[in-house]
Symmetry: C2
Subunit: 218 residues, 2 copies
DNA sequence: CGGCCCGTTGAAGCTAATCAATGGCCGTGG
DNA sequence: CCACGGCCATTGATTAGCTTCAACGGGCCG
């Protein structure tokens, strides 16, 4: 039964935070973590909760560049100042450290050497996948890809099953996928009607037909 | 006079290639440099010419992720295998080196320390800018942004003036901007009619009204 | 219980895609 | 040197998909 699914939005980071120096900080819903134009000295690791990084164009259009979930590292945009704004989605706890210190973790003699490189390369690959999605995929393909991506990230974080909990609003999803909130909503409905997903609540999705969803993603 | 503009497509790399180990290699027009799924052991620096990296979806849709011009480094997509295909646009000369060796250039004691980090961070920022463009900008805004980006890269490479030489076809531009070739062509025409650019030949563009172009980019 | 925010649904409009035909440049070969 | 063929680009007409505008619903919190 889908209803038995309990949203694990607040989860501890799977990466050992002990390996991180720096300070732990908490943010409230919609609180700004850093803003466009501010000096970019720190990097941040999500301990619990979720973060969005985005840019707003002059006329108000917003593009969310990435959602950062428990274990993710962010704050690399821009040098010497941030190109993006980062905001808490709901309550968030972060581990904050100097960028220089983060780069240091990559010295050959440092514990976890190569970790920083791998992190950056993964971010680059995610950004490239985002480009491909926004450049060439339809609304339906984008939504399906998004859901399967969220599912994969949840599973990698230790939650298995097809229940996906979405910390963000429909508007956030729309601004991530380059669509309007109405199109996202309609697409969710279509996927539900066609039996591929269930929508037990606003913030949760259950994948009913993974193979079909996979096929959509093209 | 616009006609006096000579296309400097073939240019020597501004970064001292001597700092690079590795082999020099040449490729013909449309020749594959690496393909999706191949082991990703090397990184490449463009000495002369231009390269496109792209992915093709199952049904043939192509998204170009990046154009690499003289001085640019590429080949970071995917680990352990490439997620993208890289192809020569026209005749290309590349300097090829092991990824591991490239990362080594970043050891504190190595000459040019910090160079590799800076390279990756710049690539990430470009990818994020691409995301914003594809997610939220109109066809006209995309084309204008593209032209000004190409202009900026040419200027940084040592060519000043408003004459831009485009090594790639309209189809390549379309696949980079997430548009069709017809839309790109129409938008070029509109910009020309409105007096913002001139199109002296297929592969060159002259910016006539930089301020107006800037304003379009939003 | 009431208000507010978020999400859903419907109808009309617009942008870019698709389908189709023509134009022009360039390389090749007579 | 000119003629031909092929490829790339442009332009026009129509269509499709997403956005915009508008109204309603439903859950949650005070």
């Amino acid at each position: 039964m889908a209803a038995s699914f309990d949203p694990p939005i607040e989860t501890e980071c799977p990466t050992p935070a002990a390996a991180w120096a720096g300070v732990r900080m908490s943010y409230d819903r919609d609180e700004e973590i850093f803003g466009e134009g501010e000096p970019a000295r720190n990097v941040y690791m999500v301990v619990s909760g979720a973060v969005r990084t985005y840019r707003v164009l002059a006329d108000g259009r917003r593009q969310i560049v990435e959602f950062h979930l428990a274990g993710d590292v962010f704050g690399f945009d821009g040098d010497p100042t941030h190109n993006l704004t980062a905001e808490a989605i709901g309550e968030v706890t972060l581990q904050v450290m100097r960028r220089t210190a983060f780069f240091e973790t990559d010295r050959p003699d440092a514990p976890g050497a190569g970790h920083a490189w791998a992190t950056l390369l993964r971010k680059l690959q995610r950004a490239e996948a985002h480009v491909i999605m926004l450049g060439r995929q339809s609304a339906c393909e984008r939504v399906a890809s998004f859901l399967l991506d969220m599912r994969g990230r949840m599973i990698r974080a230790g939650f298995d099953g097809d229940g996906i909990s979405l910390p963000m609003t429909r508007q956030d999803i729309a601004d991530y996928l380059g669509l309007t909130i109405e199109t996202v909503s309609r697409t969710f409905s279509q996927l539900q009607v066609s039996g591929m997903i269930e929508l037990p609540s606003r913030r949760s999705v259950v994948v009913r037909n993974l193979a079909a969803m996979d096929r959509i993603c093209a």
